[in-house]
Each structure stands twice: as C-alpha cells, then as structure tokens.
C-alpha cells in the first residue's frame, strides 16, 4: 500500500477577532484506497483541517505531501491545476451551479482539465451519472433536483477526473436518513470496487463507524486513530 496523503505538523491560527490556534501540530497519513472519517465536536477544527489538505487554504504551518509531491508552497495557479486533477469535493450543501444542467455540472471540471475532448467528457460524465443512477436527470437543470439527487450529482462531479482523493465535508449532513444511507453506500462501494481514496468529515457516528478508519479530533489535535 502506498501513501497518497501525508500531513506533517500542521498548525493554523486565526487572528480575527483574537488570536486562536485552531490546529496544533496535526500529523497523519492516508493510504491509497482508504476510507477515512474525521470526527470530533463542533468547532474542533475538522473543516479547517480539510481545507488545508485540499489545498484551498494555504495559510498554515507544516507540510502536506500528496502522491509524494510536496504541495505546500505551490503557487495559487499550480494549486488550482492540482485540485482540478487530483481532488474531488463533496460538500454539505450541494453547491451545484444552478444555471447548468446536471450533466454540465459534472462535465465542467473535465473540460477545465482539458485531457479529453468535449464528447469524451460528455461520455465520461454520463457514465458517472449512470453509475449513480442519475443519468435520467442528466439534462435537468441542477437547481430543479432534490437534495439527495443534487448530492449524487455532486459526487459524480467529484469523480469525473478520477481524483487521487475524494474529500467530503459532511457530505450527508444535509440529507435525510434514507439519502444518508444511499450516499454512504455509494462512497463505500466507490472505495471497495474502485479503490477510491476518500477522506470525509462527519458528525454521524454511524457513518463514521462503517468507514475504514476514524480520526478523532479535539481542540485542534488528533486524539485517536481508530481502525
């Protein structure tokens, strides 16, 4: 097994409204194909940690390696390119672009990547949507879909470029129990059958317990690794 993500001594402080250290020397590794849950009380710094390792937030101390490449210190443009290719996001609020169809939402990151022709992008997007049982809604405006449907489209979008790591910030946080179950099964299946590495922040202990590994945080520190 190879390490796809390695966080070394990550620290982060906010200075507004007053100085406050959110993360204190956080270090951990994630293996390829692992499904990792990050849990902890509200305000302990889970989201903050996720934004660091996803390269969206660059104001921190410590180092992050992905696929053995050091991403700390890359320029904003290099990071954008890196995210495009290696990271897929799923958020609590589905965050689809409302003016675009479900299909187009899924296609955009692939078109941005520029690795495939437009028709190939479309085929790939269809394939992902089909896998999530969403292909019949492909041409529907994304704002006209239900919450659970939107979240499945968001998962398809996260997967379109076959990312190294898929990251979720409470991906089931805004869904009812049926949809939570559904999304969890999808993620689990992704991990099992396709070897997709997943890191997900969650509040849902049931959800967390079904994943490969739990990282528990408290006041900006990792207090427990659990397999």
């Amino acid at each position: 097994m190879s390490i796809v993500l390695s966080a070394k001594n990550l620290s982060k402080s906010f200075y507004e409204p007053e100085e406050f250290q959110v993360l204190k020397n956080v270090s951990f590794d994630v293996q390829k194909g692992e499904f990792v849950s990050i849990v902890g009380k509200s305000g302990c710094g889970k989201s903050t940690l996720l934004y660091l390792i996803s390269t969206l937030d660059t104001k921190y101390k410590g180092e992050i390696f992905m696929n053995e490449k050091k991403v700390t210190g890359l320029s904003q443009n290099e990071l954008a390119r890196f995210r495009n290719e290696h990271i897929g996001f799923v958020f609590q609020f589905h965050f689809l672009l409302p003016e675009f169809s479900a299909l187009k939402n899924v296609m955009l990151p692939a078109e941005k990547l520029g690795k495939y022709s437009k028709s190939e992008c479309e085929d790939r997007a269809y394939e992902k949507l089909k896998w999530l049982d969403m292909d019949k809604f492909a041409l529907k405006l994304s704002s006209k879909l239900s919450g659970g449907q939107q979240q499945r489209v968001a998962i398809a979008r996260a997967l379109i470029n076959d990312p190294t790591i898929m990251m979720g910030d409470e991906p089931t946080g805004n869904l009812d129990s049926v949809n939570t179950e559904l999304v969890f099964d999808i993620l689990k299946d992704l991990c099992k059958s396709k070897g997709q590495t997943i890191i997900s922040v969650t509040h849902d202990t049931e959800f967390a317990e079904k994943s490969d590994r739990i990282i528990e945080m408290k006041d900006g520190e990792i207090v427990k690794h659990e397999n």
């Binding site: 969206l56 890196f82 995210r83 609590q92 979008r157």
Partner: protein, 419 residues
C-alpha cells in the same frame, strides 16, 4: 487566451438572466447610438460649413495689407534721435494704391509652383449698386471668370444664368442672389455701378449665384477683370488680390507663410480667413466628444453596477469553481467575457440605432432659409465613426468589467464554502 469552458460558463450566465443582460446592453446601445447620431450630424454640419467656406474662399489669398503702423517715422532716420525727439500728431496714410506690384511676375511664378492647382488674380473694389433710386453698398470683383471658377467652385453655386455668359457679353455681371433680390433685378436687366471716387458704369446681369453665405450673396458681384480696371481707371496689370487653389488644402497654412515671405505681401490661408467659423467647428467637435463620452461613461457605470451585483450573487459559484480547479485568472476571464460580450452586442446594436436615427435626421427637410442653401439636414455616414463607436463601446465595457472581475478572481473560496 479565452478558454472554451470559460466562454461557455460566461455564455450560460448571460443567457440565464436575459432581462438583466438586456438592460446592461441597452445602456451601451443608447450611449453608442447617441454618439453615432451626434457625430454624424455634427460632422455633417461641419463638413457642410467647411465646404461652403472653401467654395467661397481661395485656399490662399495674397493681398496688399495697408500698413497703419506709425511707430516709426522717416524723420528718425535723418535726425540724431539721441538729441532730438520727433513727435508727429495725427499721422495718416498717404494715398497708397492697394495693388500688388509686379503681379504678373508673381502669377507666373505661382503657376510654376507644383503645389498650386489654379491661380486667379482679381481686382476688388467698393461700389454702389444703383437701381432707380435705390443705392446699395457692396463689393465688386474683377476676375478672369474661368480661373476664378476653378478656385471657388462658383459653377455649382449659380442660381440663374451661366458663368460663361461673362465671356460673351463684355459688360456682363454675375450678381449675388440676395443682392439681386434686394435690387429687384433679374437676368437681362441693366444695373449701374458707381465707385466711391465717382466713376460709374452700366452692366447687364447675366447670372446670379448663391454660396449660402449671406455676407457674400448680399453684397458681392463678379465682372471681367478689365472692366473693373477700367472702372477704377487703372492699367491692365493692376490687381489687388491673387487667389490660389492648392492641390492639398490642408497645407494652406504653411504655404501661405512661405508665399508671404517670398513675395513680401500678406498671404492668408482659408483657416485664417474663416477663423471664427473654424472656432465654431472646433467647439462643435469638442461638444460632440464630451457628450458622447459622458453617455458612454454612464453606460460603463451601469455595466460596473450590474457586474458587481452579478458577482455578489455568484459568490458560491465562484467558490465552487475555484474548488474544482478554476484559477483566479479563469474566474476573471469568465466575468470579463461577460461584460465585453455585453459591450460587443450593445455597441453593435448601438451602431444600428445610430444609423437609423441619423438616417431619420438626414431625411428631415431643412427649414427653408435665404442664407443656407440646403434642402435636408447635413448628415454624414463615415465608416470611421462607426468603427470608433464600436471600439470605444468595447473598451468602456472592458474597463467597467475589469474591476469587478479582478475582485471576483480574488475571492477566497474557503470563506464562502465554510458558510
């Protein structure tokens, strides 16, 4: 380079809110439309005026300017000014003749100059037009009519009769249309002319002209040069003015200065002769640009507003695009494309609007009047105005969109995604 994904996103944004897009576009349309209307009309009027002035004034006019500078006396040259102070009360000019000496040589020389297209000597004098008991003060120009016609474009300005009549009828006279009306005379009638020195002569009216400038049409007449020389009792070399037409009238100022230096007489170019009209042309140009510029700046603010609003409403979308891997540059490009697209289509429809409006003005009949001889409003349709309007519209929207777009590019996705 504009990437096709970014363009597609921009297009989708614009089409998703058609009414807002249309309103932003209409601001530009209106601005450019008004610019086209104003510039076409103002420029048309300027060109008409310039044309009228040019057709009635030679490009360069050489004449003998009577000197009234008495600061220097010939007495000073024969007396020792260190000891003596010469004071002369009420100096007056002596009886100088205002003619150009050795005019024949100057004319010969001018005709050889390769910048010169035509030369017309003339003898101008004050006269009284006498018809019955009516006496009207005016001017009389003695010319070689064919040469003069080359110079001023008299031919197309003829209202009745032909200029060639002057060649066949020895005592013929071409009279300003307004003057003929005042004297109530027509082609074929006889008219008496008297000089201030008391000599008089009778002429037969063979034509009337109308330049469209009251100060000419109401006072001026043309007769053959020899007739005026006869009337004022001078020899056949006696001329007061030499009018010159140049191949390129834009050079007139430089050429006039050179001729003045070369021949020792005063030489005015057409701009100097028509200085006050040139000022009004300049003022109209400045006004046109100020008003058009204001309209476009207002349209620019409209776009700035709408783009800022759009971006404010799309913070989430911008954050998600950045998370997906779109860079700050991409985001900037998307919103800049939106405002420039608004600019391009707004400007295009502005050109159409401007064209329609100025065609409308062009077809309006001009109020009939004795001084300006046109039937409809003078409007020009110059491609360069349309090109400039288009360019200016695009640049304005580019600048208006630039600031909001840069701001959009700088948005921190984390702050937004956190919620």
């Amino acid at each position: 380079m504009l990437s096709s994904v970014n363009f597609e996103i921009a297009k989708t944004h614009l089409l998703a809110k058609p009414r807002q897009t249309l309103i932003a576009m209409l601001g530009v349309t209106f601005g450019i439309g008004m610019y086209i209307l104003m510039i076409s009309f103002m420029q048309g009027f300027n060109e008409f005026l310039e044309d009228t002035l040019l057709s009635s004034t030679p490009d360069v006019r050489i004449y003998n300017d009577i000197k009234t500078d008495f600061s220097h006396s010939i007495l000073d040259e024969i007396s020792d000014t260190a000891k003596v102070l010469n004071v002369i009360h009420h100096p007056k000019p002596k009886d100088i003749t205002p003619n150009l000496k050795s005019s024949a040589r100057i004319i010969e020389d001018l005709k050889r100059d390769e910048r010169v297209l035509a030369v017309s000597p003339q003898l101008a004098t004050q006269v009284f037009y006498v018809s019955g008991l009516v006496q009207i003060n005016g001017t009389l120009s003695g010319v070689n009519i064919l040469e003069e016609a080359q110079l001023t474009g008299l031919q197309p300005k003829m209202k009745t009769g032909k200029i060639e009549n002057l060649l066949t009828i020895d005592n013929g006279i071409l009279m300003g249309h307004g003057l003929a009306n005042k004297l109530n005379v027509h082609v074929g009638d006889m008219i008496s002319l008297a000089t201030p020195k008391g000599t008089a002569m009778r002429f037969r009216i063979v034509g009337t002209f109308q330049f469209g400038i009251g100060s000419l049409d109401n006072i001026k007449s043309y007769v053959n040069l020899s007739k005026v020389q006869q009337l004022v009792g001078k020899d056949n070399q006696y001329v007061t003015d030499i009018g010159i037409k140049l191949k390129n009238y834009d050079n007139a100022t430089d050429v006039a200065k050179e001729f003045s230096d070369r021949y020792g007489y005063k030489a005015d170019d057409w701009k100097t002769t028509n200085a006050s009209a040139m000022v009004s042309i300049l003022i109209r140009n400045v006004m046109t640009f100020v008003v058009s510029f204001t309209l476009l700046v207002v349209a620019g603010f409209g776009i700035y507003n709408i783009m800022s609003m759009t971006i404010q409403n799309k913070l989430k979308d911008i954050a998600i695009l950045k998370a997906e891997g779109f860079s700050s540059g991409d985001i900037r490009q998307i919103f800049l494309t939106e405002s420039v697209t608004i600019g391009v289509f707004g400007a295009l429809s502005g050109l159409v609007l401007g064209f329609i409006l100025s065609s409308g003005v062009y077809n309006l009949p001009f109020p009939k009047n004795d001084f300006i001889s046109i039937t409809h409003f003078p409007v020009v349709f110059h491609l360069k105005h349309y090109a400039f309007g288009m360019g200016f519209g695009i640049i304005t929207t580019f600048i208006a969109g630039l600031m909001p777009s840069i701001k959009a590019g700088k948005i921190d996705p984390v702050a937004i995604l956190r919620g």
